[in-house]
Protein backbone atom coordinates (compact mmCIF):
# COMPACT_ATOMS: atom_id res chain seq x y z
CA UNK A 1 0.00 0.00 0.00
CA UNK A 2 2.50 2.64 -1.16
CA UNK A 3 -0.06 4.90 -2.78
CA UNK A 4 -3.75 5.12 -2.18
CA UNK A 5 -6.14 7.10 -4.35
CA UNK A 6 -9.87 7.64 -4.25
CA UNK A 7 -11.38 9.57 -7.12
CA UNK A 8 -13.76 12.38 -6.24
CA UNK A 9 -17.50 12.42 -6.96
CA UNK A 10 -20.05 15.29 -6.76
CA UNK A 11 -20.50 14.44 -3.07
CA UNK A 12 -17.13 13.03 -1.99
CA UNK A 13 -13.57 14.36 -2.22
CA UNK A 14 -10.50 13.11 -4.06
CA UNK A 15 -8.05 11.49 -1.67
CA UNK A 16 -4.39 10.86 -2.43
CA UNK A 17 -2.15 9.27 0.13
CA UNK A 18 1.49 8.75 -0.89
CA UNK A 19 2.92 6.79 1.96
CA UNK A 20 6.55 6.84 0.72
CA UNK A 21 6.46 10.63 0.57
CA UNK A 22 4.42 11.11 3.72
CA UNK A 23 1.90 13.14 1.74
CA UNK A 24 -1.87 13.16 2.19
CA UNK A 25 -4.26 15.25 0.13
CA UNK A 26 -8.02 15.69 0.48
CA UNK A 27 -9.62 17.96 -2.11
CA UNK A 28 -12.97 18.73 -3.66
CA UNK A 29 -16.35 18.37 -1.97
CA UNK A 30 -17.28 16.39 1.06
CA UNK A 31 -21.06 16.39 1.39
CA UNK A 32 -22.16 12.74 1.58
CA UNK A 33 -25.21 11.83 3.69
CA UNK A 34 -23.17 9.15 5.41
CA UNK A 35 -19.63 10.36 5.95
CA UNK A 36 -18.55 7.64 8.38
CA UNK A 37 -18.73 5.06 5.62
CA UNK A 38 -16.63 7.22 3.29
CA UNK A 39 -13.91 8.20 5.76
CA UNK A 40 -13.46 4.85 7.49
CA UNK A 41 -10.83 3.49 5.00
CA UNK A 42 -8.76 6.68 5.32
CA UNK A 43 -8.84 6.50 9.12
CA UNK A 44 -7.75 2.82 8.88
CA UNK A 45 -4.83 3.66 6.52
CA UNK A 46 -3.66 6.38 8.87
CA UNK A 47 -3.80 3.91 11.70
CA UNK A 48 -1.47 1.59 9.74
CA UNK A 49 0.75 4.48 8.64
CA UNK A 50 1.11 5.55 12.28
CA UNK A 51 3.02 2.34 13.03
CA UNK A 52 5.80 3.32 10.64
CA UNK A 53 5.48 6.94 9.46
CA UNK A 54 7.92 9.10 7.47
CA UNK A 55 9.98 11.66 9.42
CA UNK A 56 7.66 14.38 8.07
CA UNK A 57 4.01 14.15 7.04
CA UNK A 58 2.50 16.85 4.87
CA UNK A 59 -1.26 17.18 4.66
CA UNK A 60 -3.12 19.30 2.14
CA UNK A 61 -6.79 19.98 2.78
CA UNK A 62 -8.42 21.82 -0.10
CA UNK A 63 -12.17 21.57 0.24
CA UNK A 64 -14.68 23.60 -1.69
CA UNK A 65 -17.62 22.48 0.46
CA UNK A 66 -18.05 20.18 3.41
CA UNK A 67 -21.12 19.30 5.44
CA UNK A 68 -21.42 18.93 9.20
CA UNK A 69 -21.53 15.14 8.86
CA UNK A 70 -18.05 15.28 7.26
CA UNK A 71 -16.76 17.75 9.83
CA UNK A 72 -16.74 15.05 12.53
CA UNK A 73 -14.95 12.58 10.25
CA UNK A 74 -12.36 15.20 9.29
CA UNK A 75 -11.80 15.73 13.01
CA UNK A 76 -11.22 11.96 13.37
CA UNK A 77 -8.63 12.13 10.55
CA UNK A 78 -6.94 15.07 12.30
CA UNK A 79 -6.92 13.19 15.60
CA UNK A 80 -5.05 10.35 13.91
CA UNK A 81 -2.60 12.94 12.53
CA UNK A 82 -2.22 14.38 16.02
CA UNK A 83 -1.18 10.93 17.27
CA UNK A 84 1.24 10.55 14.32
CA UNK A 85 2.75 13.95 15.14
CA UNK A 86 3.17 12.93 18.77
CA UNK A 87 4.72 9.65 17.64
CA UNK A 88 7.67 11.40 15.96
CA UNK A 89 6.62 12.35 12.41
CA UNK A 90 6.49 16.14 12.02
CA UNK A 91 2.96 16.74 10.73
CA UNK A 92 1.85 19.97 9.04
CA UNK A 93 -1.75 20.51 7.97
CA UNK A 94 -2.07 22.99 5.11
CA UNK A 95 -5.65 24.25 5.23
CA UNK A 96 -6.63 25.89 1.93
CA UNK A 97 -9.42 28.41 1.58
CA UNK A 98 -10.54 30.63 -1.27
CA UNK A 99 -9.84 34.33 -0.99
CA UNK A 100 -13.22 35.55 0.27
CA UNK A 101 -14.43 32.32 1.85
CA UNK A 102 -14.45 33.40 5.49
CA UNK A 103 -16.55 30.40 6.51
CA UNK A 104 -13.87 27.99 5.23
CA UNK A 105 -11.08 29.96 6.95
CA UNK A 106 -13.08 29.91 10.19
CA UNK A 107 -13.65 26.16 9.85
CA UNK A 108 -9.88 25.69 9.61
CA UNK A 109 -9.36 27.85 12.68
CA UNK A 110 -11.90 25.74 14.59
CA UNK A 111 -9.82 22.62 13.90
CA UNK A 112 -6.61 24.47 14.69
CA UNK A 113 -8.04 25.31 18.13
CA UNK A 114 -8.92 21.67 18.82
CA UNK A 115 -6.01 19.74 17.28
CA UNK A 116 -2.46 19.96 18.56
CA UNK A 117 -0.70 19.93 15.15
CA UNK A 118 0.80 22.93 13.30
CA UNK A 119 -1.68 24.37 10.79
CA UNK A 120 -0.86 26.61 7.85
CA UNK A 121 -3.72 28.67 6.45
CA UNK A 122 -3.20 28.89 2.71
CA UNK A 123 -5.19 31.42 0.73
CA UNK A 124 -5.90 30.47 -2.88
CA UNK A 125 -7.35 32.56 -5.69
CA UNK A 126 -10.92 31.79 -6.71
Amino acid sequence: MEKISIEGTPKTPTINFDIAKGFLEIKGRSIPENSIEFYKPLVDWLEKYAANPQSATNVNIQLEYFNTSSSKCILDVFKKLEAINKGGSAVVINWHYEEDDEDMLEAGEDYQAIINVPFKMVQVAE
Partner: protein, 181 residues
Amino acid sequence: MMLDTYDFYDKMERNNIMLSFKGDITSELLTCILQIMESKLDNLQEEPKIKKKVYNVLVECLQNLYHHMDEVAPEQNDVLRSAIFMIGKLDNQYNIVTGNCIKKEKVEALKKRLEDINLLSKEELKEYYKAVLNNGEMSFKGGGGLGMIDIARKTGEKLNFNFSPVDDKFSFFSLNIKISQ
Protein backbone atom coordinates in the same frame (compact mmCIF):
# COMPACT_ATOMS: atom_id res chain seq x y z
CA MET B 1 -60.60 17.72 -5.07
CA MET B 2 -59.61 20.22 -7.70
CA LEU B 3 -56.34 22.09 -7.33
CA ASP B 4 -56.28 25.67 -8.37
CA THR B 5 -53.11 25.62 -10.46
CA TYR B 6 -53.08 29.35 -11.01
CA ASP B 7 -53.34 29.95 -7.28
CA PHE B 8 -50.29 27.72 -6.75
CA TYR B 9 -48.43 29.41 -9.56
CA ASP B 10 -49.28 32.88 -8.33
CA LYS B 11 -48.11 32.17 -4.78
CA MET B 12 -44.87 30.67 -6.03
CA GLU B 13 -44.33 33.51 -8.45
CA ARG B 14 -44.91 36.17 -5.80
CA ASN B 15 -42.42 34.46 -3.49
CA ASN B 16 -40.03 34.02 -6.40
CA ILE B 17 -39.66 30.29 -5.74
CA MET B 18 -36.71 28.89 -7.69
CA LEU B 19 -37.28 25.25 -6.84
CA SER B 20 -39.71 23.28 -4.74
CA PHE B 21 -40.32 19.64 -3.99
CA LYS B 22 -42.73 17.56 -1.95
CA GLY B 23 -42.27 13.85 -1.37
CA ASP B 24 -39.84 11.25 -0.12
CA ILE B 25 -36.30 12.56 0.33
CA THR B 26 -33.73 10.17 -1.11
CA SER B 27 -29.99 10.49 -1.58
CA GLU B 28 -30.42 10.59 -5.38
CA LEU B 29 -33.00 13.36 -5.09
CA LEU B 30 -30.62 15.44 -2.98
CA THR B 31 -27.88 15.02 -5.59
CA CYS B 32 -30.29 16.29 -8.28
CA ILE B 33 -31.58 19.23 -6.24
CA LEU B 34 -28.04 20.33 -5.40
CA GLN B 35 -26.99 20.11 -9.06
CA ILE B 36 -29.99 22.15 -10.19
CA MET B 37 -29.47 24.78 -7.51
CA GLU B 38 -25.79 25.05 -8.26
CA SER B 39 -26.43 25.81 -11.92
CA LYS B 40 -29.18 28.27 -10.98
CA LEU B 41 -26.80 30.10 -8.64
CA ASP B 42 -24.21 30.16 -11.44
CA ASN B 43 -26.77 31.56 -13.88
CA LEU B 44 -27.68 34.31 -11.43
CA GLN B 45 -23.96 35.14 -11.33
CA GLU B 46 -23.98 35.33 -7.57
CA GLU B 47 -20.76 36.33 -5.85
CA PRO B 48 -18.81 33.20 -4.89
CA LYS B 49 -19.22 34.13 -1.24
CA ILE B 50 -23.04 34.16 -1.41
CA LYS B 51 -23.14 31.14 -3.67
CA LYS B 52 -21.10 29.10 -1.19
CA LYS B 53 -23.17 30.21 1.78
CA VAL B 54 -26.47 29.35 0.07
CA TYR B 55 -25.12 26.01 -1.12
CA ASN B 56 -23.73 25.07 2.30
CA VAL B 57 -26.93 25.96 4.14
CA LEU B 58 -28.96 24.15 1.51
CA VAL B 59 -26.92 20.98 2.02
CA GLU B 60 -27.52 21.10 5.78
CA CYS B 61 -31.26 21.79 5.42
CA LEU B 62 -31.76 18.96 2.91
CA GLN B 63 -29.66 16.46 4.82
CA ASN B 64 -31.59 17.28 8.00
CA LEU B 65 -34.75 16.28 6.14
CA TYR B 66 -33.07 13.16 4.78
CA HIS B 67 -31.90 11.96 8.21
CA HIS B 68 -35.28 12.68 9.82
CA MET B 69 -37.17 10.69 7.20
CA ASP B 70 -35.56 7.51 8.44
CA GLU B 71 -36.15 8.41 12.04
CA VAL B 72 -39.89 8.84 11.58
CA ALA B 73 -40.66 6.03 9.19
CA PRO B 74 -37.69 3.81 8.37
CA GLU B 75 -39.45 1.33 6.15
CA GLN B 76 -42.86 2.69 5.46
CA ASN B 77 -43.55 4.41 2.24
CA ASP B 78 -46.35 6.69 3.22
CA VAL B 79 -47.24 10.24 4.05
CA LEU B 80 -44.79 10.25 6.97
CA ARG B 81 -41.87 9.87 4.58
CA SER B 82 -43.04 12.97 2.80
CA ALA B 83 -41.38 16.33 3.30
CA ILE B 84 -41.55 19.72 1.65
CA PHE B 85 -38.69 21.88 0.50
CA MET B 86 -38.66 25.28 -1.21
CA ILE B 87 -36.03 27.82 -2.07
CA GLY B 88 -36.71 31.32 -3.32
CA LYS B 89 -35.05 34.68 -3.65
CA LEU B 90 -36.85 37.91 -2.75
CA ASP B 91 -35.22 41.34 -2.45
CA ASN B 92 -31.68 39.98 -2.45
CA GLN B 93 -32.50 37.53 0.31
CA TYR B 94 -32.58 33.77 -0.13
CA ASN B 95 -35.30 31.89 1.73
CA ILE B 96 -35.11 28.17 2.33
CA VAL B 97 -38.22 26.50 3.71
CA THR B 98 -38.40 22.90 4.88
CA GLY B 99 -41.20 20.97 6.53
CA ASN B 100 -41.53 17.41 7.80
CA CYS B 101 -43.51 15.31 10.26
CA ILE B 102 -41.93 14.50 13.58
CA LYS B 103 -43.12 12.36 16.48
CA LYS B 104 -45.03 14.40 19.07
CA GLU B 105 -42.80 13.25 21.92
CA LYS B 106 -39.77 14.73 20.12
CA VAL B 107 -41.26 18.22 19.77
CA GLU B 108 -40.31 19.59 23.19
CA ALA B 109 -36.66 18.52 22.99
CA LEU B 110 -36.24 19.89 19.46
CA LYS B 111 -37.98 23.14 20.36
CA LYS B 112 -35.70 23.56 23.39
CA ARG B 113 -32.60 22.86 21.28
CA LEU B 114 -33.55 25.43 18.66
CA GLU B 115 -34.50 28.03 21.27
CA ASP B 116 -31.16 27.47 23.02
CA ILE B 117 -29.29 27.98 19.74
CA ASN B 118 -31.27 31.18 19.14
CA LEU B 119 -30.06 32.62 22.46
CA LEU B 120 -26.40 32.40 21.45
CA SER B 121 -24.28 35.23 20.06
CA LYS B 122 -21.95 34.75 17.06
CA GLU B 123 -18.99 34.07 19.35
CA GLU B 124 -20.99 31.69 21.57
CA LEU B 125 -22.18 29.77 18.50
CA LYS B 126 -18.56 29.29 17.44
CA GLU B 127 -17.64 27.92 20.89
CA TYR B 128 -20.74 25.71 21.00
CA TYR B 129 -19.97 24.33 17.53
CA LYS B 130 -16.43 23.43 18.56
CA ALA B 131 -17.65 21.81 21.79
CA VAL B 132 -20.22 19.64 19.98
CA LEU B 133 -17.72 18.83 17.21
CA ASN B 134 -15.11 17.70 19.71
CA ASN B 135 -17.25 15.99 22.34
CA GLY B 136 -20.57 15.23 20.71
CA GLU B 137 -21.39 11.66 19.90
CA MET B 138 -21.79 10.92 16.24
CA SER B 139 -25.20 9.51 15.52
CA PHE B 140 -25.30 6.31 13.52
CA LYS B 141 -26.53 8.23 10.49
CA GLY B 142 -23.71 10.69 10.82
CA GLY B 143 -25.90 13.65 11.72
CA GLY B 144 -24.15 14.54 14.91
CA GLY B 145 -26.33 17.49 15.90
CA LEU B 146 -24.12 20.10 14.27
CA GLY B 147 -26.45 20.97 11.40
CA MET B 148 -28.66 23.54 13.13
CA ILE B 149 -25.70 25.20 14.87
CA ASP B 150 -23.92 25.44 11.53
CA ILE B 151 -26.98 26.96 9.83
CA ALA B 152 -27.34 29.57 12.60
CA ARG B 153 -23.63 30.33 12.39
CA LYS B 154 -23.40 30.64 8.61
CA THR B 155 -26.57 32.70 8.15
CA GLY B 156 -26.06 34.93 11.19
CA GLU B 157 -29.86 34.81 11.63
CA LYS B 158 -32.13 33.31 14.28
CA LEU B 159 -33.67 29.96 13.35
CA ASN B 160 -37.29 30.63 12.47
CA PHE B 161 -39.37 27.52 13.18
CA ASN B 162 -42.90 26.35 13.86
CA PHE B 163 -44.74 23.22 14.95
CA SER B 164 -48.26 22.48 13.67
CA PRO B 165 -50.44 19.67 15.00
CA VAL B 166 -51.05 16.79 12.56
CA ASP B 167 -52.75 14.06 14.62
CA ASP B 168 -52.37 12.43 18.03
CA LYS B 169 -48.95 10.98 17.10
CA PHE B 170 -47.29 13.56 14.86
CA SER B 171 -46.55 17.24 14.52
CA PHE B 172 -45.39 19.11 11.43
CA PHE B 173 -42.06 20.86 11.92
CA SER B 174 -41.31 23.76 9.62
CA LEU B 175 -38.12 25.74 9.36
CA ASN B 176 -37.64 29.01 7.50
CA ILE B 177 -34.04 30.02 6.89
CA LYS B 178 -33.00 33.43 5.58
CA ILE B 179 -29.69 34.15 3.91
CA SER B 180 -29.06 37.83 3.34
CA GLN B 181 -26.43 39.23 1.06
